[in-house]
Symmetry: C2
Subunit: 200 residues, 2 copies
């Protein structure tokens, strides 16, 4: 399955593999310190952001696509989370500081369960986790995408992938799709940090 | 419009008024201390949980309903957030401590905007905010619902409203709809805190 969608532009390259994994581990919530910013292996792979579900929620979408035609192979929600230190800087300044990390989680959608009769809710089936990292010392252009397969350290998605050019061309703020994060869009508008190329 | 839905059972009573309001204020994020637990006026109204968007995200749904028939008057996402102290206790124990507060935010859904071609994302139009509070010294049965109209302190929804009986009968954990919060459902299952009456 290839997906062409999401609250940030999921690279089809990044999601072409078998990314299905167990639900997000949160059991360490009370014992481990929260990591501010991305951490890498010696080989430059990004370490799994174990506690991202405790980061700041930016927004959700369902079955989004930036391309015409072709229904989704299966219905899914996208959830986006910002590392809290970066979020607070965004609230203060209207843009992202260096060492920002944003997580996109893709999760199954179903209408069937418990007493629900209409609409859809999120399931325990996480089918993809991607991270968008700002690290100006490390990445030309400042930002890089990583697609996790399970919780093993993730390789950077190559700069030739179309997620980079799409974000460069269409993102509301600093290559990030703030146009889909309603609480941040107002802040960026107010602080005058919207990209000149951005069209609402 | 009456809605009969949501990730926790929105009382139609609570949502029958004109609840449309401006987007959530988050500009105080860097300057104000986070409140742990509910705060009331002298008259027993619940104070607006100003920073709930920085609480822990539990899940989203779209156009959910617990009743048959009748499409939604307009498409909407539900987002649920838990006050962080209560969340950490849930992770540790599998259930909610006293003075838990959960927020249900109902927010517009649209497919039209920016480069999106399919699916839906969330808008800046918040149409309802309800809070589910556990406060055993204050409420018989331990829990109470409050429906905000804007940010003014909210009156408790009367105990005769069907949200109370529905949550009592169908909730997975301690009158809360953990069956729709996938990261918590696994914890409750593991810790054996699911309600005896709960049917998956």
């Amino acid at each position: 399955m290839k997906r062409h969608l999401a609250l940030f532009a999921t690279c089809s390259l990044g999601l072409s593999g078998p990314a299905t994994q167990a639900d997000t581990p949160v059991s360490g919530a009370t014992t481990k310190a929260q990591t501010a910013g991305p951490v890498y292996t010696a080989q430059g792979r990004l370490i799994w952001p174990e506690r991202y579900r405790e980061w700041i929620f930016l927004s959700s979408g369902i079955d989004m696509s930036y391309r015409d035609g072709g229904a989704m192979a299966r219905s899914a929600f996208d959830n986006v989370f910002a590392e809290p230190t970066a979020y607070r800087e965004f609230v203060r300044t209207g843009t992202w500081p260096d060492r920002t990390a944003l997580v996109l989680e893709v999760r199954g959608a179903t209408g069937t369960g418990s007493i629900n009769k209409q609409g859809k809710f999120q399931t325990g089936n996480v089918t993809a986790v991607e991270v968008h990292v700002k690290d100006t010392k490390r990445f030309p252009g400042g930002w890089a995408f990583f697609a996790f397969q399970g919780t093993a350290p993730a390789q950077q998605i190559p700069k030739s992938a179309d997620c980079y050019s799409c974000h460069q061309q269409h993102a509301a703020v600093d290559t990030t799709f703030v146009q889909f994060y309603p609480t941040l869009l107002g802040i960026a508008t107010q602080k005058g940090t919207l990209s000149p190329a951005y069209q609402p």
